[in-house]
């Protein structure tokens, strides 16, 4: 066991894993965090807590993560390279580990231009691949990035994100290979709506034998409306939303939109479950966390091990 986390145990045992996501509040409201977490308890093996996603200031991932850990819900904390240099990152990771966090997702981070503090200085002392390697060396070599020994080292189950739908397409698999080489244990992909393209990506992944070196969780997200589908299709970089999905949502009309969104999500889960090399799903229902239990149940993924 690299970290002994619940997520690691489930994946290593060969079960189809389920992870979910929650966004911390733009305030000190601990209750918001606890409420969202309670909704997901028992329905997800571990819960991602975003780290100032889209560069908008929110309660820190580590703080919210340790709050979850204290309530018996396993967090996956996220760490971006945008806001912290290697000193702060290593320091935060020592603290997170001491607070009981065992899963870590290493990300580059959205540029601060997207957030509410576009005038800030960006850090990017490291990129996500260097971050992954640094965390792996902290765990397996017991060394800080500078080479100094760590007396009691953190044990993280290390994850990364990958986008099977962005350009250059051929390079995406090589990038995953690079992350695997750097030391990731699991990967959560960008939201899948185009199962065909995702399948092709998985084929390339299998060709390189990567599915045997890292646990791949397919990202899914329930749509709330046709408007949301269109927005994601046209305005969100790196998202591939096929026309037939937009059509299904449009045909459903306002009344049945949410229901159809959930159905589509379950359809996608059913399909990706059958793809060789997919070890689980990562359900992203930001600001709609209440829907996760229904999705997990209807997709036949209960009870959780």
């Amino acid at each position: 066991m690299k970290s002994g986390s619940n997520l690691e145990k489930i994946l290593c045992a060969g079960h189809f894993a389920v992870t979910a996501e929650l966004g911390p509040p733009k305030s000190v409201s601990a209750e918001v965090v606890y409420k969202k977490a309670e909704t997901l308890k028992g329905y997800a093996d571990a819960v991602n807590i975003t780290d100032c996603q889209t560069a908008i200031v929110r309660m820190s991932s580590i703080a919210a993560g340790s709050m979850l850990a204290s309530r018996g819900i396993e967090p996956i904390i996220q760490m971006t390279c945008r806001d912290r240099n290697r000193i702060a990152i290593q320091s935060d990771l020592l603290g997170a580990s001491a607070l009981g966090v065992k899963n870590l997702l290493c990300l580059t981070g959205d540029h601060q231009k997207f957030g509410n503090h576009p005038q800030s200085k960006n850090v990017f002392d490291l990129d996500s691949i260097q971050l992954i390697k640094m965390v792996k060396d902290m765990r397996d070599e017991k060394k800080f990035q500078c080479g100094e020994e760590i007396k009691v080292e953190p044990h993280f189950f290390i994850g990364a994100a990958e986008n099977p739908f962005s350009e250059p397409f051929e390079f995406r698999v090589l990038r995953l290979a690079k992350k695997v080489k750097a030391g990731i244990d699991f990967v959560q992909t960008q939201v899948v709506y185009n199962v065909e393209k995702f399948s092709k990506w998985m084929e390339m992944v299998r060709e390189l034998g990567l599915h045997e070196k890292v646990f791949i969780l397919a990202g899914v997200a329930p749509l709330k409306s046709a408007g949301m589908a269109k927005y994601m299709k046209n305005n969100v970089p790196g998202m591939d939303v096929p026309d037939k999905i937009v059509e299904r949502m449009t045909v459903a009309g306002k009344e049945k939109a949410k229901e159809e969104g959930v159905n589509i999500c379950i359809d996608i889960i059913d399909q990706v479950k059958e793809i060789k090399g997919v070890a689980g799903v990562h359900i992203m229902a930001i600001e709609w966390e209440e829907i996760v239990p229904e999705i997990v149940e209807k997709a036949g993924l209960l009870p959780r091990p």
């Binding site: 945008r82 981070g109 691949i129 260097q130 640094m134």
Partner: protein, 222 residues
């Protein structure tokens, strides 16, 4: 070359508001090439300031000169008389020129009329773009000659990030994704294998992060 652009007129007028006689010093090198502070720009700024001040009924007298460079002692020494004849200097050079004047003439007030922006090249007349970050430890050999420090918005050494879309950066659809360019270049050179190497964390101490830099060449000193 160093690329800059003239500050907005109002900002310049505010800086010199209390002065009645100023000297506008241009520079014939980088800022002349990027059409921000050469002798043409000096004369036009001078004329514009005079008209703006006439409008306020606060006329101003302006002397003008554009040395070949404003960052070397021998050239700024040529400006001594005009500098001493005025209350303040408005420099149209880059930030280095402003500071050269201040170091050479410590009692003089020097205002910057130009915002020094980046190190780059003229893509065509009227268009300049950033190319170099002066990081002190060039990695262009590893990236097919395309700078990841300054052409990538996140200075990634193992890019691209997930925000690369259609060869453009998530930060601005007009900005090329440096890593797409690097990928394309290495593909053309048949060196895509280079990208499988994980480049380690950069030593930023050779750059600005290490503190103000200085190079001393003992073998070159007189």
């Amino acid at each position: 070359m160093i690329v800059g652009e003239r500050k907005p007129m109002q900002e310049i007028l505010d800086m010199i508001a209390d002065h009645k006689k100023i000297f506008i010093a241009g520079c014939g090198t980088c800022v002349a090439v990027c059409m921000a502070g050469g002798d043409k720009e000096v004369s036009i700024l001078s004329s514009a300031i005079k008209m703006a001040r006439n409008k306020e009924n606060k006329p101003i007298e302006i002397l003008e000169q554009t040395p070949l460079r404003q960052c070397e002692w021998e050239f700024v020494d040529e400006l001594k008389d005009k500098i001493e004849a005025c209350e303040a200097v408005l420099s149209m050079a880059c930030g280095i020129g402003v500071q050269t004047l201040v170091e050479r003439f410590p009692k003089v007030i020097v205002y910057p009329a130009v915002n020094t922006t980046f190190l780059g090249l003229p893509e065509e007349q009227g268009v300049w773009s950033e190319r170099c970050g002066a990081c002190g430890n060039c990695v262009l050999d590893k990236t097919g000659g395309i700078c990841p420090i300054v052409r990538c918005s996140k200075s990634l050494l193992n890019g691209p990030c997930g925000g690369s879309q259609d060869g453009k950066c998530e930060v601005d659809p007009e900005v090329d994704c440096a890593w797409q360019l690097i990928y394309d270049r290495l593909k053309t050179l048949g060196k895509l294998d280079d990208l499988t190497e994980i480049l380690p964390p950069k030593d930023w101490s050779t750059g600005r992060d290490g503190g103000p830099r200085k190079i001393v060449r003992e073998d070159m000193k007189l």
